[in-house]
């Protein structure tokens, strides 16, 4: 019989670790689904009768509007930046990512007073078109603002995925189309746009995901889609109803996630990556002007205008009394974000590393489940973790830990929600490091853990750092979960900005808002580097693909 190590079996240990993490991620959702199946109480029929239809159609209008507008902002900008050359193109290439650093609720703050600026316009409408049009226009305005703000801050998802599609995957076909005499517009409409369709769909479904997650923007403009509805039910003391609504929200999220995955899969097969980068076509002045308009407009709306306005407020109305409270809130945010990011990256390493050391169906599944967290809307995770925390602190003897329990609950919720943010770069990093390095270490007598620590981890360190940074930023600017789960009297920067905005103390909220944007900007650095990074000199890469046994389980697409 083969000898087996008499020590604690590392494979069993790893399997326990990955399933423990997967269980942590799934637990809140299971709790919500379980509780949603129980009788919901008398409030539920009322909510269904009076509110549900409103929640649903408001969500639907918002999703359609934001997604459409984000495509309108993102696709033409990506097209010009990828295939044309015009003065300022290199700046736009990264500047169009800036809106990612502008959380929606921060941008909302900068636009909120513009609604008041519209009063003369309303008066004019009232005088010229009568009362009904006036009322209608007043009803529509918040929709326009909310949709516009969400689209202007979320369009970079579409921009990013399309830029990749235009620059790399479609480059060969684009050149072929030009050689066959197709003009600019015709190339775009007949070749580029159809080829980029999976990329557009993938980006758009991310936008839709973020839209249904949003709480800050919609509530600032008084809209009532599903997420605020869940909040309302929860804070009014109807957890059962909140959980049923959360299940509906999850169904929507799963729909978008599956669209994204399906389209991404198609993109992988369609990709026939060109070896040489696309030769950019130089635009004439008129074309360049058009390209400028297309690139500058979303950038202005999504970043420059709000940033500029906040900068002015922050400089002109310094309110020293506020600064102490700002600092406390910022301290809380930094602490939470750092702690969660650390846990997240640890979890990601356990999941991805076990997969490297013990390839197998169970570790693969567990990693998949870790990724699922991102498909769970914030409101769902919030009520799920909220229910767990309240059950735990209701236990006799645990009540004294109530406060720490809710901070821990907050960190736990961040972990569930953003574990995927850590897993993705980690998995991508591991993919650039050939698995034969790990195998080489093993055949040289290294046990799995030593092989991971001495060979794999040093090589994926940049990817892990990027993952930790992204998770840090995401937690730092998280609002929805935090509002539900934070302990009484505990404020993060995000909730503070949200509260100040709600109290119409917009100028006071400008400084923390700006601070949040600055911190988020740091997160863009690894993001852009991640897109074009060459980890180590082309050594030992890509051979995982060239093994001659096609029957080997493929690594599977990592989202």
């Amino acid at each position: 019989m083969p000898t087996r190590s008499s020590r604690l079996c590392p494979r069993c240990l790893a399997r326990f670790g990955v399933w423990f993490i997967a269980g942590l991620v799934l637990l809140p959702v299971l709790v919500v689904v379980w509780r949603a199946l129980e009788p919901a109480g008398e409030m539920w029929p009322q909510i269904v009768r009076n509110r549900l239809a409103g929640y649903l159609w408001q969500s639907a209008v918002l999703i359609v509007g934001v997604t459409f507008l984000a495509i309108l902002f993102g696709v033409p900008a990506a097209w010009h930046v990828s295939v044309h050359d015009f003065p300022g193109r290199r700046i736009f290439e990264w500047a169009l990512l800036l809106p990612l650093a502008m959380p929606g609720f921060v941008a909302a703050l900068a636009y909120l007073d513009a609604v008041e600026g519209l009063i003369p316009f309303y008066v004019w409408i009232r005088e010229h078109f009568g009362l009904e049009v006036f009322l209608l226009s007043q009803k529509i305005t918040p929709w326009i603002f909310a949709t516009g703000i969400l689209a202007a801050t979320l369009f970079p998802y579409v921009f990013l995925s399309c830029r990749g599609a235009f620059a790399r995957e479609a480059a060969g076909s684009l050149e072929a189309a030009r050689m066959l005499g197709a003009g600019n517009l015709r190339t775009f409409l007949t070749v580029a746009a159809p080829m980029a369709r999976p990329a557009i769909a993938a980006g758009a479904s991310l936008v839709a995901m973020e839209t249904i997650n949003d709480y800050g923007v919609v509530s600032a403009f008084g809209l009532q889609p599903l997420t605020p509805g869940i909040f309302r039910a929860w804070t009014e003391g109807y957890p059962g109803a909140a959980m049923r609504l959360a299940v509906i929200l999850m169904a929507m999220a799963l729909l978008f996630v599956s669209v994204e995955r399906w389209q991404r899969g198609r993109r992988r097969f369609a990709s026939d990556s060109a070896e040489t980068p696309l030769a950019r076509r130089r635009l004439r002045p008129a074309g360049a002007l058009w390209a400028w308009t297309v690139c500058l407009l979303p950038l202005l709306l999504g970043f420059l205008i709000p940033a500029w306005r906040m900068l002015r407020w922050a400089l002109h109305s310094p309110n020293p009394v506020e600064w102490a409270e700002h600092a406390v809130a910022a301290g809380n945010s930094l602490m939470l974000a750092a702690g969660s990011a650390l846990l997240i990256i640890l979890g990601a390493v356990v999941l991805v590393g076990s997969r490297r050391a013990f390839a197998g169906r169970s570790t693969f599944l567990a990693q998949r489940m870790g990724l699922l967290g991102y498909a769970f809307p914030s409101a769902l995770v919030a009520v799920g973790v909220g229910a767990i925390v309240s059950t735990l602190s209701a236990q006799p003897g645990l009540g004294v830990f109530a406060l720490s329990a809710s901070v821990l609950g907050l960190i736990y919720a961040y972990f569930v929600r953003f574990l995927a943010v850590g897993i993705q770069p980690a998995a991508a990093g591991f993919e650039t490091v050939s698995s034969s390095l790990h195998e080489a270490a093993r055949t040289l007598g290294a046990r799995p853990l030593r092989a991971l620590l001495q060979v794999d981890l040093p090589l994926v360190r940049p990817a892990l750092a990027a993952g930790a940074t992204l998770a840090f930023i995401d937690v730092f600017k998280e609002l929805t979960l935090t509002l539900v789960l934070r302990p009484f009297d505990f404020e993060t920067l995000a909730t503070r900005i949200y509260r100040l905005t709600g109290e119409s103390r917009i100028p006071d909220a400008a400084a923390p808002g700006l601070f949040m944007v600055l911190i988020s900007l740091i997160g863009l650095a690894p993001l852009t580097r991640l897109l074009r990074r060459e980890p180590w000199p082309a050594l030992g890469r890509s051979e995982t693909r060239s093994r001659d046994e096609e029957g080997r389980g493929s690594n599977g697409p990592t989202p």
């Binding site: 019989m1 083969p2 190590s5 195998e439 093993r442 040093p458 001659d548 046994e549």
Partner: protein, 357 residues
Amino acid sequence: MIRLQVQNLSKTYRRGREPAVKDVSFEIPEGDLLSLVGASGSGKTTLLRLIAGLERPDAGDIRLDARIISCPKGVCPPEERGIGLVFQHQALFPHLTVERNIAFGLRHLDAGERAAVVAPLLELVGLSHLGKRYPHELAGGERQRVALARALAPSPRLLLLDEPFSSLDARLRQAVRDETRAILKARGATALFVTHETGDALSIADRIVVLRQGAVQQDGVPSEVYYAPANAYVASFFGACNFLPVNSLPHPSGARIRCQVGPPALSRGPNPGGEGPGFGIWVRPEDLELVSPENTGALTGSVVKVGFHGAYLEVTLLCEHEAGESFEVIVWHHGPFMVRPGETWAVAPLPQRPRPL
């Protein structure tokens, strides 16, 4: 003494699929260099990974020095087998220097002992001056030698090499493979290497095992596999080969051809003579020459194709069988006269040449 023994080994990756390795048996005596040859998809890499302990077999077992190290019930993990592996793309650790790469498998030794192992190895592979470099600062052939030294450092009982020369260009390749054989023989290592390049296998292996679709086709010394192929697949895998039906030869001068009629060539293997109708013989194109068609007793045919290959012309003739069927014969023509398509020539066996049997 038998170092490695593989018995009835089978492995299927996915249920319902063709097995990647089916019922494979062979053994390697101590100090021998065995080559596993096969086209891509023939299961040779799977076999290698099974022996290395990176995969678990479905049936059969693997014994190292008579001790079972793999069977369907369990697999001794790779780090406990004492088997070294040289990877196709070397898999050198890019963040470690050459010296630390080689010393990676020597953790049980202290620093002084480690240096005492690494230094002579570096000298053996001729890289003493490059010990402090990083892998990406080395040339392809140097990296290959580092990978070899790294795998040899813990003195493995068996060394596996996975397509060790495939990442090298043609000119470097020959030098590195001769070097590799010299190094392995100098260390007295027992080794198994996998390749799809028949040239590599023929020139450095002591013994060759030919795989096709996961099954062993032939197991023999290089010249045996080359000149006495067990079947049509092996024959054509090692280069162009003519199958001459027995009764196509005008007179029994076939006795002069090394691949003899009937035994022993045709008696080996379950499918003597391959797919051709009736019996025949395998003749390599370099063992034939073109002679004048007036030459009685030779096989005549008309030239259909002439290809220039530098050292020789590859002449394809269409010959006619007694029964009226026609078949192609390829001859590597070194003669001083020119051959053109459409001409009629006769084919005759060359006088036997020396073979390293």
